[in-house]
């Protein structure tokens, strides 16, 4: 402790110009200024994010105000969207967005989780990276490319094969069968949900994999030591440990599905007819409504209504994220209580 820096063995070995290092140390006040500047910069960066969010929301609110005040609650409860008669209700758009996103979630979560389990639990080490890489490559495909593929390759198959099959098998089943009624067009809510499921799959896989890898090896080994099979070890130890993270992965996928525009626009049929309850009817999402109609929204009320759709999309996304946080929080809390019990 008593020895100064000059007597430090390492220092004595330094060449004479090591003095400049000392000079840097004595420039402490300058360093503090730099620190302050850097701290200020990070603060500015952090503040910029909420500021941008606020600016976006304010702009949407101002531009959507004429439509919102004129139609009030019917803006979200009416299903008539008629530019000619100046009646604007967004219910079919909200419905289309929610239904396709939920469908994507239902389809993508089991596949994504399965892929993640394979990568972490079953795959030989040399297979892990290629499989994971391939799945994550899906995330790099631009939305419009998915859209074109959906338009030219997916919808003909949905129309001629998948949808008739579902109508024949699930169609007659009570309750669930109501989801698969009507003519198979290929351009409908179901195809929209399928393409979204493909698009959110990499998100679900990547995050689930990280979460599963974070499960301590002792958990698995403990189960196996008790004579559990591999499946029992996964279902009894790995999945319960990781479920909050898996739920988070699914919700992040859902958040991506809600805002997706181009790919869905190309396969969903873009028709804001009455809500039938069947997945095999053409639909419309909020994002595709904005993309389709913004260009020609030439009168003030119409423009305002389109901006209103954007505002509602923002609110719905925020609500879903909030709901997801609550869900994850309650799962982790229950898990903690379960562990104590």
């Amino acid at each position: 402790m008593a020895t100064g820096p000059t007597t430090h063995p390492a220092m004595t070995a330094l060449p004479p110009n090591a003095r400049s290092g000392d000079a840097a140390l004595t420039r402490a006040p300058g360093g503090v200024d730099g620190d302050r500047a850097f701290a200020g910069a990070t603060l500015a960066a952090a503040l910029a994010v909420p500021a941008i969010l606020l600016a976006v929301f304010l702009l949407l609110a101002i531009d959507a105000e004429p439509a919102l005040t004129r139609f009030g609650a019917s803006f979200v409860t009416s299903s008539t969207w008629d530019n000619v008669k100046e009646q604007f209700g967004t219910l079919p758009y909200i419905y289309g967005t929610v239904v396709t996103s939920l469908l994507a979630l239902v389809l993508a979560t089991p596949v994504g989780l399965g892929a993640a389990l394979f990568i972490t639990e079953y795959a030989p080490r040399r297979l892990r990276t290629p499989v994971a890489f391939t799945i994550e490559l899906l995330a790099a495909i631009p939305s419009i490319v998915f859209g074109l593929w959906g338009f030219f390759a997916l919808t003909p198959v949905m129309r001629s094969t998948v949808e008739p099959f579902l109508k024949a098998t699930i169609g007659p089943v009570p309750v669930v069968g109501a989801l698969f009624q009507g003519p198979s067009l290929g351009k409908d809510l179901f195809t929209g949900g399928v393409i979204l499921a493909i698009m959110i799959l990499p998100t679900v896989v990547a995050i689930s994999r990280e979460v599963l890898l974070a499960v301590p090896t002792m958990q698995r080994e403990g189960m196996l030591a008790l004579g559990a099979t591999k499946w029992e070890a996964i279902s009894g130890a790995v999945l319960p440990y990781a479920r909050a993270g898996i739920a988070g992965a699914a919700i992040l996928g859902l958040a991506r599905a809600l805002g997706e525009t181009m790919a869905v626009t190309m396969v969903i049929g873009n028709s804001s007819r009455k809500i039938t309850g069947s997945l095999l009817t053409p639909g419309y999402t909020m994002a595709s409504a904005i993309a389709n109609q913004f260009n020609e929204a030439d009168n003030e009320l119409y423009f305002s209504a389109v901006v209103g759709v954007a505002a509602i999309l923002l609110v719905v996304s925020a609500l879903v994220n909030l709901f997801a946080r609550v869900l994850i929080w309650s799962i982790t809390r229950n898990a903690a209580q379960g562990a104590r019990a």
Partner: protein, 423 residues
């Protein structure tokens, strides 16, 4: 406890998912096989085709449907007015602006890009045109963010009043046609006759089968299938939709009261495709479907095109000649400001689903060099430019309308005097 909960939930999820997954996996595999033929059915994009081979494009697209009718009238009607006004503008003019910006309709965008490219070679004036849609064009000229606007649906009185720079002129540039196009397996070579009433009923959803007695009555001898009709419309706002719905409103009172005419309407049924190519693609993909597209798309994609009954009671195929006839029939009674719809016009040969496409310009401009450049451009387009229209699927203006356009161009003022220099 929690583990079993999770298990049951997981299991039920899996059961639900397996059925769906089996379908999805099958889809992916079949898609991979079918994928190779899919691109072939992708509609050709007219912008590129036209831009790449502007001079030779004329003969080719017209071939499959109606070669002689489409090729001839391009010269005949345009030649008459051209004698007085064509060839006036031969090079740059001292004191004119070297760049102009315009924005608006997508319907004439193919023609405009060809025009402005050729015009640049003649005068070195650079015209930057953004095809953002008619609504955007009206907004741009009203807010004075562009030197000129372009639209397929005339501005309303309220919109004209809101314009920031004073009186706006609607100067017709060319004529376009919208055609009903269909895909009925087994009837590939057959030309269907569909009256306005029938078209309205199909898009209203009151006629749902191809073998409906109303369709059969006009198509004696054609074996119509007992299949559901899938109607396809534009999902994005579009001048094409405006013309089509304007026509349906003119021929069907029910359409007018229930739906009306606009660039976007509340479609009673069917599916929406984005852009002309989207609608053409949907029609190609969906058996037993019907849609509407600009004439050039139907020609280039070799789609089945319906003959329509005109006001005179004749069945007419969509031809450029028929479109010009519609404008000529309308020109006698049009409002002086030329804000007029020309659907369902009189005349033996008139094709009823036709439209003007206009450029919007201020009558009084503040920037004199720009006013000179713009008036010269408009003069060139409505005279020399007319001979390029047929190549790209637009019909040339009839002489009467060109004359009215001339008067408008000459009325544009800058600094208290007419802007057009006369050469």
């Amino acid at each position: 406890m929690t583990t079993t909960d999770f298990l049951t939930r997981r299991r039920s999820m899996l059961v639900q998912a397996t059925g769906l997954l089996a379908g999805a996996a099958g889809a992916a595999i079949v898609a991979a096989c079918g994928g190779s033929e899919a691109p072939a059915s992708k509609p050709a994009e007219p912008t590129k085709a036209a831009g790449a081979a502007p001079t030779t494009a004329a003969a080719k697209p017209a071939e499959p449907t109606k070669a002689p009718a489409a090729a001839e009238p391009t010269k005949a009607p345009a030649a008459a007015p051209a004698s007085g006004g064509a060839g006036l503008i031969t090079g740059p003019f001292d004191g004119e602006a070297k760049a102009l910006t315009g924005a608006g309709a997508t319907f004439p965008a193919v023609l405009y890009s060809k025009w402005f490219n050729d015009y640049n070679k003649v005068t070195q004036v650079q015209v930057n045109y953004q095809s953002i849609g008619s609504g955007g064009g009206i907004k741009a000229i009203s807010d004075q963010t562009a030197d000129f606007g372009a639209t397929d649906s005339p501005m309303t009185d309220a919109q004209l009043k809101d314009a920031k720079g004073g009186d706006i002129l609607h100067i017709p540039m060319a004529l376009g046609a919208v055609v009903a196009t269909y895909n009925i397996p087994g009837l590939e070579g057959t030309k269907l006759k569909l009256s306005g009433d029938v078209l309205a009923a199909i898009f209203l959803g009151t006629i749902t089968k191809w073998n409906d007695p109303k369709i059969a009555a006009d198509n004696a001898g054609v074996k119509l299938p007992a299949e559901d009709i899938v109607s396809v419309h534009r999902s994005d706002g579009s001048g094409t939709s405006f013309v089509f719905t304007d026509y349906l409103s003119a021929v069907s009172a029910e359409w007018k009261s229930k739906v009306g005419a606009s660039t976007t309407v509340n479609w009673p049924g069917g599916i929406g495709g984005k852009g002309n190519e989207g609608v053409a693609g949907e029609v190609k993909q969906n058996p037993f479907s019907i849609g509407y597209v600009e004439l050039i798309y139907a020609i280039q994609n070799k789609l089945g095109v319906a003959s329509v009954k005109n006001k005179a009671g004749n069945w007419v195929e969509p031809t450029l000649e028929g479109v010009t006839a519609a404008a000529a029939a309308a020109s006698g009674k049009v409002a002086p400001d030329l804000r007029v719809s020309i659907v369902e016009q009189e005349g033996e040969k008139t094709y009823p689903i036709s439209t003007f496409t206009w450029i919007l310009a201020y009558k009084t401009m503040t920037d004199a060099p720009k006013a000179i450049a713009l008036t010269r451009l408009l003069w060139w387009a409505t005279h020399d430019g007319q001979k390029l229209t047929g190549d790209l699927g637009y019909a040339p203006l009839p002489a009467e309308i060109v004359a009215k356009g001339e008067a408008m161009i000459k009325s544009i003022q800058a600094g208290g005097k007419p802007a057009f220099p006369g050469k």
